[in-house]
Amino acid sequence: MSASTLFLVIAVIAIVGFFVGRHRALATADGSIRRLHSLPQYYGSHVAVLSFAPAVLVLAVWSIAQPLVIGGSVQSQILPSDIPEGRDISLVMTEVRTLADGLSLAVSSGDMTAAEADNAQTFIGDLRDRLGALGVALGGDVRPSVLAAAQSYRSATATGDLIRTVLVLALAGGAFLFAFRQIAPDFRARNTVERAVRVILIGCASIAILTTVGIVLSLIFNTIQFFKLYPWQDFLFGTTWSPSFQGASELGILPLLWGTLYISFVALAVAVPIGLFAAVYLSEYATPRVRAIAKPALEVLAGIPTIVYGLFALLTVGPFLLAAFGEDGVLGVNWMQGGTAVMTAGLVMGIMLIPFVSSLSDDIINSVPQAMRDGSLGLGATKSETIKTVVLPAALPGIVGAILLAASRAIGETMIVVFGAGAAARLDLNPFEAMTTVTAKIVSQLTGDGDFNSPEALVAFALGMTLFIMTLGLNVLALRIVRKYREQYE
């Protein structure tokens, strides 16, 4: 039975269990609910949960483990000579699986008898065409060792599936009977069901941890893979970025880091003053009516998807800047060669970050106690003097935290730099020059064909790792600062 059919069968058992359990509970209490410890549906749920959860758990673990175990044991049958030059064994394993699935499909669709499929070696030359007629696309002609591996993969999978079916159904049935026999008027069904609910809640909460683990693992594995093919010193300290899929690429991260930091700096130089002044005005000066209009208007900027900003940079801001600073520009300075530049991306990213800085700072300024303002005003300071000498210094740690969060946003931003910053990796000081960033290069290195085994594709994972570490560090630092600051005034 396939995993999905098994799942459906278990689900049906569980649903039946619910009604049977509820009925049984009422029967044992001679139809009077008052003699039961829990409400009847809890007895039903008890049977349902017990017959469903363990069986599904075993099903899930088995289904994950089986292909890994069988794949590992079958791998040894493939001759080293059958692995194409420069390719990974995983590519051949995909072929093995496709072949095995194709044979099973041929048997189930009646194109081959089971015996024929088991002796596919006898017509190995026609195999590709016969499977191709069924819609199974094989890359090249079938090689004997691959077919042998596929055959043992197929038989092992068949055995594994059979054991799985028997085991899971036995477990579901056994648990059903066990739970059914437990039912008695004084059985505490509600408590067991509530414990199960609690476990489900904890399981859901653990997904956040699993996601982080998944991110870290997927970055680490591929990064290690990359460093096996490319020396890490050259990656970390190289000053040239010129990937070429023909080989002999230079993959130094420094130009990308420089571009990232430069663009982020320009973005913060735009967003921080504007955002901060907007926050000060909104929280200290604005009348409630102005605030009710201006605050949502700024927040609309935060709700616009980044692809829109990207297009804005590419098609509006870039040409505009070029008309001002480029050749034959209005200002008569020939600083800019093309529409994509550090300035273009930085400016647009700055606009995007204004609401981010302003709403965070707004919260922080509002949490400065009123007594401090009153004290300063009472001593004769004007409002702006109070803000400059009392409110802002008191709020400074929080504001620094907000700026750090904005910086981490800027470093991780992708779409604006993909469109606005250009593709050339450069170590240059001119802000009107095209440069590129870590995120933009992750996109360009990973959106090609589906081959993840060349250093040119794997480098994206190392770049992702760098990005992850940088933003994580900034976030942890920022959250710590903000939290410490909050405690001060609470």
């Binding site: 509530e194 941890i209 982080t212 594995f221 959106t447």
Partner: protein
């Protein structure tokens, strides 16, 4: 004490006070101008989107009478490249139409004349014939899309100077088009194909539409709804109502706040490595391959999880403890108190948070680029409900990205037009969230 000797009226400000007041005014002006700059940017952005995107919603087309004979249709259908013959029919019809209207045909080859039509026009004709065989044997009127450059000329995007170096269209074509407009054969109409049509190849910007990618986004949002919402709400309930103060709870909390700040592109990397490389490759799960809405939806779910968790926790926190106390006092168990009493009261807030999370996921582009939602020309709608999840498709932001990277400027117009659709969706989701909050939110 020399100051006191100089008598001065109290109503007259001394220089220092004047300076301080001026500084006060300046400071205020900075604040006002900061807000003004923000609002001006917003206005420029919106104006830009609308002015650049609206032309995508109209399309110039040519009304042409084409005579279809059984003999020619049979010939066309038996040929290897079936559209060639249909193009010949259109060519003949066009030459005839020009003669009818008394418009001079400056082209010796009729093939050059039809360059002003979309290269998809023969396929349009063929589809119409296949859909309604009764058209064969009579002359009927068809509407053909003009090519993107002819369309651009009608919209003022393309000028005669632009065409001097163009291979596809010459100013001679434009003369003919002007005469055809006078004859009432060329008209601009609302372009339903842009909203409901599917993407087209790079040579036919005039036929590209958002339909398939809207559906792709819809399927991804369904996945987010089914995966992220139950998990997010359950996590929030656990953390807010049940979790004891221990290291495990702290670990979960730290993870959630960090996930909220991880750049979205990193989630794309997770999607490649965990779902496509491991799930689809090593494990051999059938639905986990590139450009599939199921994978895209799962990646977006993980990304939206923190938003939903944080919103749910806030609305659970807003339910006053007296509700819980009353339920517990009447003999409900802790679980019953939460699920029967607290959760229903927190539901409007949870719903609002969910919608905002969905809106965020709908506009997200970067992870979709990595899992291959681009590089695929989504030329067909999925067949059936299930294949919507597991067949390669595009998504709205990915489609916009793709158009923005194509060479023909006619695609830019489409990209801006697509943004309008995307923003309309986002706007309506946010308005629904605001209405829900206004109507159902209770202050305690």
């Amino acid at each position: 004490m020399t100051d006191l000797t100089q008598a001065r009226s109290l109503t007259e400000l001394d220089p220092r006070t004047k300076k301080r007041n001026a500084a006060e005014k300046r400071f205020r002006a900075y604040g006002v101008s900061a807000i003004a700059i923000g609002v001006v940017f917003l206005v420029i952005l919106l104006w830009n989107i609308i002015s650049a995107g609206l032309p995508a919603y109209t399309q110039t087309s040519l009304k042409l009478d084409v005579a279809l004979t059984q003999e020619e249709v049979d010939k066309a259908e038996s040929a290897v490249v079936k559209t060639t013959r249909y193009r010949k029919m259109i060519e003949a019809a066009m030459v005839a139409a020009l003669q009818d209207q008394g418009i001079e045909n400056p082209f010796s080859k009729s093939r050059d004349l039809v360059r002003m039509l979309s290269t998809g026009a023969p396929a349009t004709l063929r589809d119409a014939v296949l859909a309604d065989p009764s058209l064969v044997g009579q002359t009927s009127q068809f509407e053909f899309f003009m090519s993107s450059r002819a369309d651009g000329y009608m919209k003022g995007r393309v000028t005669r100077e632009d065409l001097a170096r163009d291979k596809n269209l010459t100013p001679l074509h434009l003369d003919v088009i002007d005469r055809l407009v006078d004859a009432g054969m060329v008209e601009r109409g609302f372009n339903w194909n842009f909203i409901f049509g599917v993407d087209a190849s790079e040579a036919r910007p005039e036929q590209a539409g958002m339909g398939a990618s809207i559906l792709g986004s819809f399927y991804m949002m369904m996945v987010v709804l089914m995966a992220a919402v139950p998990i997010g709400v359950a996590t929030a309930i656990y953390l807010e109502e049940f979790a004891p103060q221990n290291w495990f709870t702290d670990l979960i909390e730290i993870n959630i706040s960090n996930l909220a700040a991880v750049p979205s592109i990193v989630f794309g990397i997770l999607g490649i490595a965990a779902f496509i490389q491991f799930g689809g490759g090593v494990m051999g799960i059938a639905g986990f391959k590139q450009s599939v809405p199921l994978v895209g939806g799962l990646v977006l779910s993980l990304m939206t999880l923190p938003t939903i968790i944080i919103a749910t926790r806030a609305s659970l926190k807003a339910v006053p403890p007296s509700i819980r106390d009353a339920a517990l006092g009447l003999g409900a168990s802790k679980t019953q108190a939460v699920f029967h009493h607290v959760l229903p009261l927190a539901l409007p807030g949870i719903l609002t948070g969910t919608i905002i999370g969905l809106a965020q996921a709908l506009g997200e582009t970067a992870p979709l680029l990595l899992i291959g939602m681009i590089g695929l020309v989504a030329t067909s709608y999925p067949e059936g409900f299930v294949s919507g999840f597991t067949e390669p498709n595009s998504a709205m932001p990915a489609q916009i990205y793709q158009w923005a990277t194509r060479a023909d400027p006619a695609f830019y117009e489409r990209a801006w037009g697509g943004i309008i659709i995307l923003l309309v969706f986002l706007l309506s989701m946010n308005i629904i969230a605001i209405i829900l909050r206004r109507r159902f939110e209770r202050r305690w």
